[in-house]
Subunit: 524 residues, 2 copies
């Protein structure tokens, strides 16, 4: 019991204003949270409104760009014979790039539409929700606070009741004690022993009472600064009681009456104390429930659907952006496919087909016999036979030499072409480095400063390429000249071989087959 | 032989201008092809220059947009205590959206850089290449054409030689025949039989000669319109020869001389014909080679590297666009992850931690004993015991009823919350339909006209949601009131139970444990 009194309990009146402050601050906190959210939602709305504008500008610029070239193509198609130009693989790529531009334009317009008519609408609805939910939550919060106030007020009331009854109980006790002292004085004459025993029993209690009162006085003198709200009247009452207790009572012989009064007050005090204790338990439980559950529930009420609705808004934005990307990707794949199909050989054939009257080989030169000349073949009879045979052998050896020489030229030509091809197909188009950089927070690195596209490298590579090209053309001319000569000599050689072979085997007989090497059609 | 003469060979002079026209047209075709390419390259350069501008504008707009909000955030951070705001999941999403905007801005600036300093540079180089290659190819082509001209001129020369020698050969033959006739006349006196034999042999040849000449006359009369360029002098010569053949020779006795002349001319004619035939074969082979191989090679020279260089240019463009896309995608994934992590519970705890002095539960109310009252527990001695016991039982049955009632309210509350949650988490954010449409060539379909975001649907859904929300709050109030009452009664009930239990078991003894339900700390 002494230990309990020795502890320094936090007083009821000390906690109450603290709780009040907390409750007020809690509302402020919720309000601030809602205001932050409204600000965030307003920022997001502004952001998406402006982003939508930017997307629309971008879309319009792309549309204009595509249209500029598309209309040019349309007009050139009408005026010229270029109808089949799109069949050529580079033109096809170009048309697909324009197509992709229009597609991007449409997709960014769609982005604008989704931002304006979906994302922003959602955000403004969430703003409404935040305001409405904060209002409703505050309403509920106020109700909770009223409940807490009611509970603590009740506690205050029952505590006051207990204090009052306890004070009355003390008063009744001291009056009873006084009456007993009077009786004792009268009884003292009958026996000192009993009186001594009584005093012995009474002393420690009185001493402790003195101690307690002094303590209470000390506390009272600390004033309102100490947070003790013990009313001055109470202190006064105690002082009166103390003086009364020390003074010698004048009235005696009222003991039975005072005994009844004391018992009655003691019961009242016990009941009040019990009530106070029960209310204390209920109040602490209510406050504890509020801080542990209700505040959290209150915040949940404020939050109701906020995160879910915001998530759906962000997901709408993400869905739009992802879909834009998918659409872009599809378009780029189409272009990539067309680039894979860039084919000079097929284009060459297309062009030659388009102008086939220009590239179609002419009819062969026919033998023009002179005035009834019935001989239309090489004559290998004597006396020309020997000469022809000599010529044939000369041609044969000349051709062999020429073919070896030209084969050497061809090999050089092929090797040069391979070198050129390697230069022309070098894989120098990967620009991912430029974006790798932009992925970090560093400043954009110029793509022109990259290895392949630096000015020095470009100049070097081009000089190298053109040198190889020059060499290729020189060798090509050489090869064409050589092969032209070979072709002519080979034709003569073959004709002589045929003639001489015939002469050797069947003399100047009929020619076999339907078509002579001169192109004369022999009808049987 | 008769069949061969019956066919109508295309004349040498008929083909020659045709070939010339073709060769000229072939150059025109190559030139047109190169011009088309230069036009294409110029269009592409213009396109990418303008696209680069558009990308830069877009980049700058995005940069400005992001900066506007970023600077706002920076200033609000300085002025307010919102330092930890970014810990909240919606704010985190917002910051990531801004981050993504800056990233897009940087990436589009990179696109501009690549278009300007790489793609356009490549295109202008390809233009130079096309011009240079066309010039070089034309040079080679001219050489090829000269070669063809040379070959056909040679053919013309050898043909003329053959015609000349053949004419001379005919003339010598006819003179020889005349001399033979003179001889015959003189010989006729010696024997008629031999003369008859000779005439018999001579007649069919002469008749066929007449036929042939008539044919040639017919052809000549067709004039230049028929494309026959047989010179008039040749026709004349033939006529003279014919007349000479029919007339009776005046001179005789020159036969041996004429025989030698005839043999000499016949050999010359044979050699000339052989030369003509060999040259004819060579010429046809050369022309055939040109049309079948050289023209194609010439086009290849013009094309040299064009497709490969253009492909690399397009691939640079594609690489840039694909990398932009990858970067975008990465950024969107980061946002999506943040949206997945939008978490009201964690945010609630963050807020409560940030303002923990506001949400921290206060110390419990302590029992305030009155003036030396040493009793600090519920007293359950007689005469209050019976009353307390009655009160305890009343509390017990009241609590049972209340709990059942409140449990019903809680069930309704939970069901309502589930309905609300379903409304709040409906997956209405997929906007791929809007892009599906843009993938076709149809006009952009407004996202607002889609099922979820139509005005009627929005209004309906919101009305429904708010109705449910209202009901939820009504039930929530009911539940909070019920649970508040239960909490208080339960606290009283528990204290009474403990007190009475103690009273029953160990009377008014010491309390067990360290902490009483009232919060009095019992120090042993």
């Amino acid at each position: 019991m002494a230990a309990l009194q020795g502890s320094e309990p936090v007083g009821f009146f000390e906690i109450k204003p603290e709780i009040r402050t907390q409750l007020v601050e809690q509302f402020k906190c919720l309000e601030q949270q809602s205001e932050s959210r409204l600000q965030l939602l307003q920022d997001l709305q502004e952001f998406f409104r402006r982003k939508a504008e930017i997307e629309l500008e971008y879309s319009r610029s792309l549309e204009k760009l595509a249209e500029r070239f598309s209309s040019k193509i349309r007009s050139s198609r009408e005026h010229q014979f270029k109808k089949d130009q799109y069949l050529l693989s580079p033109v096809n790529c170009w048309y697909l790039v324009l197509h992709q531009t229009r597609r991007e334009s449409r997709d960014h317009a769609t982005l604008n539409d989704i931002f304006m008519n979906n994302v922003i609408v959602r955000l403004s609805q969430i703003s409404e929700d935040v305001i409405r939910l904060f209002k409703k939550s505050k309403e509920i919060g106020l109700q909770m606070h009223e409940e807490l106030l009611k509970v603590t007020n009740e506690l205050y009331t029952v505590m006051k009741t207990y204090h009052m009854y306890h004070a009355e109980s003390i008063s009744a006790e001291s009056k009873l004690k006084e009456a007993e002292k009077q009786e004792e004085k009268q009884f003292n004459k009958s026996g000192d022993l009993s009186m001594n025993l009584l005093r012995h029993e009474d002393r420690p209690q009185r001493r402790s009472s003195v101690k307690k009162i002094e303590k209470m006085k000390e506390k009272a003198s600390e004033g309102p600064g100490g947070g003790i709200m013990l009313p001055a009247s109470a202190v006064l009452e105690v002082s009166v009681m103390v003086e009364a207790g020390l003074a010698i009572p004048l009235l005696t012989l009222v003991r039975p009456q005072r005994q009844a009064k004391y018992s009655e007050n003691k019961l009242k005090c016990t009941k009040a104390r019990n009530d106070y204790l029960l209310n204390l338990a209920a109040t602490n439980a209510a406050i504890s429930k509020y801080y542990i559950h209700d505040v959290s529930d209150l915040i949940d009420c404020c939050d109701l659907g906020f995160h879910a609705s915001l998530a759906r808004t962000f997901r709408t934005y993400l869905s739009a952006e992802y879909n834009l990307e998918t659409s872009r990707h599809e378009g780029l794949d189409v272009i990539e496919n067309a680039v894979d199909n860039l084919d000079s050989r097929s284009d060459k054939h297309t062009v030659m087909d388009m102008c086939n009257q220009v590239f179609c080989p002419p009819l062969k030169f026919e033998f023009q016999p002179h005035m009834g000349d019935e001989v239309c073949q090489v004559s290998a009879q004597q006396p020309v036979q020997t000469e022809l045979l000599m010529r044939y052998h000369q041609l044969q050896s000349r051709l062999a030499t020429l073919k070896i020489e030209n084969e050497e030229v061809r090999k050089t030509l092929d090797a040069t072409m391979q070198t050129l091809q390697d230069m022309l197909t070098v894989e120098d188009f990967d620009v991912s480095d430029a974006f790798q950089h932009s992925r970090s927070t560093e400043s954009v690195k110029s793509a022109a400063s990259e290895t392949y596209m630096s000015k020095i490298n470009i100049a070097k590579r081009r000089a190298n390429q053109q040198e190889t090209e020059m060499f290729y053309f020189t060798k090509f001319k050489e090869y064409v000249n050589g092969s032209n000569l070979i072709t002519k000599l080979q034709a003569k050689h073959d004709l002589l071989k045929q003639t001489l072979g015939e002469g050797e085997s069947g003399g100047r007989g009929r020619q076999g087959g339907l078509s002579s090497p001169l192109g004369c059609v022999v009808v049987p």
